[in-house]
């Protein structure tokens, strides 16, 4: 499924929060259709890094090129990029005053200017795809965490993005709900979507990822195919991390 064309190019990306140097020269190229998993200890900058890709965070040095558009302060570029990239958050961030269906149709109607009927038809198809067609008219507070996260995925997909970013999508979920969300993500990966997933779900990474990157202290320590990464980690730092998360 992985194409030959580079869809995301990051060159020497730096970012500071005040004095704190969060990203220290991240360089990474992702091809169309590739599924990339990013793992690493908390505070290593992995979330910040994927947030720079749709410019929820700005980078201060280096270049990020997404689908041929370089991310700058140019508002048109940012709008164009954001409608091509879907994002799923750890805390779901569904809009509590809208129903599941309205959460999904909001952006297509207001950003893509689709007619309401068309947007709702697509939204219902997406709810079907994530396995909760019967929850369309419920409010987020009436749904379980797993259902909320699946609505959030449907909401991101409704914009028909070329790339999906997942920022620890299962970290806020109860164990029995993690599987239902991972199943949806697995299907999405098989459909050929370009995905960047920050997660500690190593089973998912092993099965689905094309490449895994290990982040520590604001940079990539090493990146490899899942087989190589798990069976033959090259760096001491990676080995220590893996031993900590795989033991229990």
């Amino acid at each position: 499924m992985v194409g030959s064309e580079d869809i995301i190019i990051c060159e020497d990306v730096h970012k500071w929060f005040g004095d704190f140097h969060v990203l220290r020269g991240v360089t990474l190229t992702i091809k169309r259709g590739e599924v990339v998993v990013i793992c690493g200890p908390s505070g290593s900058g992995k979330s910040t890094f994927i947030r720079t890709i749709n410019r929820l965070e700005t980078h201060q040095r280096g270049r990020i090129i997404v689908d041929g558009i370089e991310l700058t302060d140019d508002v048109r570029n940012i709008a164009a990029i954001r409608s091509e990239i879907g994002m799923v958050f750890q805390q779901f961030n569904l809009f509590p005053h809208l129903t599941a269906l309205q959460n999904i149709t909001l952006a297509p109607i207001w950003v893509r200017r689709w007619p309401k009927e068309e947007a709702e038809r697509v939204a219902r198809e997406l709810l079907e795809r994530v396995g909760i067609p019967e929850q369309a008219d419920k409010y987020p507070a009436q749904l379980s965490g797993g259902q909320q996260q699946r609505v959030a995925i449907a909401r991101a997909l409704a914009m028909q993005p070329k790339i999906m970013l997942f920022d620890e999508p299962t970290s806020a979920l109860d164990p029995e709900m993690i599987k239902e969300v991972l199943d949806v993500m697995r299907d999405l990966a098989r459909s050929g979507m370009t995905m960047i997933v920050v997660t500690h779900e190593m089973g998912f990474a092993k099965e689905v990822a094309d490449r895994i990157f290990f982040f520590a202290d604001g940079n990539i320590v090493e990146g490899n195919t899942p087989e190589e990464f798990f069976s033959n980690p090259k760096e001491e730092r990676t080995r220590r991390f893996l031993s900590q998360i795989l033991v229990h």
């Binding site: 954001r82 409608s83 879907g86 994002m87 961030n93 569904l94 809009f95 509590p96």
Partner: protein, 402 residues
């Protein structure tokens, strides 16, 4: 012996006797407090009732009821006030029929009030208008119920009702002030409006205008543009640092000095402007509180979906923030409603001002208790109605709240 029994949940029986014993009579000092409390209530209540029924001279109210309600509005033109009331009764009826819920309760309360008032001794013209209002509510309600079941009928009816509410204010003002030089609707200077009518108009206008102004100021205070932010902060802090009376003085005395020669703004309009500008600052601070309560994740999610700043504010942030600040804002509006009595310092006679004017009449000397109780009762009824509506609104909008 395979016994599988499900125990019934323990029954909690709270009869009235049980409740009284538990809450009022035990332990012994509660019983003592209950007795003392009841005794005080009885004494006060008995005194009040005896006074109200035997000694009070309520004729001060009935003789001056027109003054209390509309001030010095010309008696020959009073039908214009009635017509305005008829229009709002019709809208209440329609709303109650179409949406039910709180509006229906309000429509019922209004209808009952009109019916009871019509039973009181009054001129036949007045009774006619009261019955007319009752009929308007019933007509509106009937129409609403008739349209409610059928989407083809209910949709245009709903739009018409909402449109009617939006039109209510301009229609009211045109009907009441009229046009100079016409025979049918001769001009009635706003200076002649008074009593409850003036109280209503002042609070209605100030509430309706200060709300959007306050929201804009709150957004301005959080704006990324330094000039807008500075202006909003200065405005809010300046107004909040000044007593309402001062703002009204400014509107009354200073404002005309700044206006070009020949341009005179009516005193009532100046008062409305004063209240609006004052209230907007407080609304702004309430709304700012609501805006700050919206988690950053909501804004990030909206941005990640490609919504622009305007859409994020008006589709995501404000709907949630405004719902959060309903109680605070209604509190502000209730206090504004009561603060309208301060226009007395501008020489305008609203409900309380009329009360004072009536008491200045030697024929009604020493009747402060009757007059002030009556005025307090009216303020109380309408303030309670507002606070009740706000609670119902919170519940109605609370669907799906976290």
């Amino acid at each position: 012996m395979a016994v599988s029994r499900t125990l019934e949940p323990p029954k909690v029986r709270v009869g009235p006797g049980e409740w009284v014993r538990k809450n009022l009579l035990s332990p012994w000092y509660n019983a003592l407090l209950t007795v003392i409390g009841l005794w005080i209530l009885y004494e006060v209540g008995r005194g009040l009732a005896v006074w109200a029924l035997t000694q009070a001279r309520w004729d001060v109210i009935t003789d001056n009821i027109r003054l209390f309600l509309v001030g010095q509005f010309p008696p020959g033109q009073i039908w214009r006030v009635w017509l305005s009331l008829l229009f709002s009764s019709l809208l209440f009826g329609l709303g109650g029929g179409l949406w039910g819920g709180t509006i229906r309760q309000f429509a019922c309360a209004l209808g009952v009030a009109f019916f009871l008032l019509a039973l009181l001794p009054a001129s036949w013209a007045t009774r006619g208008w009261l019955i007319g209002n009752l009929a308007a509510i019933l007509l509106g309600y009937g129409t609403g119920v008739w349209g409610q079941g059928n989407p083809q009928r209910s949709r245009p009816l709903r739009y018409a009702t909402i449109g009617g509410w939006l039109l209510l204010f301009p229609v009211l003002v045109m009907l009441l002030s009229g046009f100079s030089g016409t025979q049918v609707l001769p001009r009635v200077e706003a200076g002649l409006w008074g009593g409850l009518l003036l109280t209503f108009l002042l609070s209605l206008v100030s509430i309706v205008l200060s709300f959007p102004l306050g929201v804009l100021l709150a957004l301005g205070r959080r704006s990324a543009l330094p000039a807008v932010r500075l202006f909003s902060v200065l405005y809010i802090e300046l107004i909040r640092g000044v007593p309402l009376v001062t703002v009204l003085f400014m509107a009354d005395i200073m404002l005309p000095l700044f206006l070009p020669e020949g341009l005179r703004i009516d005193r009532v309009v100046r008062a409305m402007a004063g209240f609006t500008l004052f209230s907007a600052a407080y609304v702004a601070e309430n709304v700012r509180g609501g805006l700050q309560a919206i988690p950053e994740g909501q804004i990030e999610a909206a941005r990640a979906l490609g919504l622009n700043g305007f859409q994020t504010t008006f589709l995501i942030v404000l709907p949630q923030a405004l719902r959060l600040v309903i109680p605070a804002n209604v509190g502000q509006f209730i206090s504004l409603f009561k603060d309208t009595s301060l226009v007395a310092i501008m020489g305008l006679l609203e409900l309380l001002g009329i009360g004072k004017a009536v008491l200045a009449n030697p024929a009604y000397m020493g009747l402060q208790r009757e007059v002030y109780l009556f005025v307090a009762l009216i303020y109380g009824v309408f303030s309670y109605a507002m606070s009740y509506a706000s609670r119902r609104l919170e519940i109605a909008l609370g669907v799906g709240e976290r």
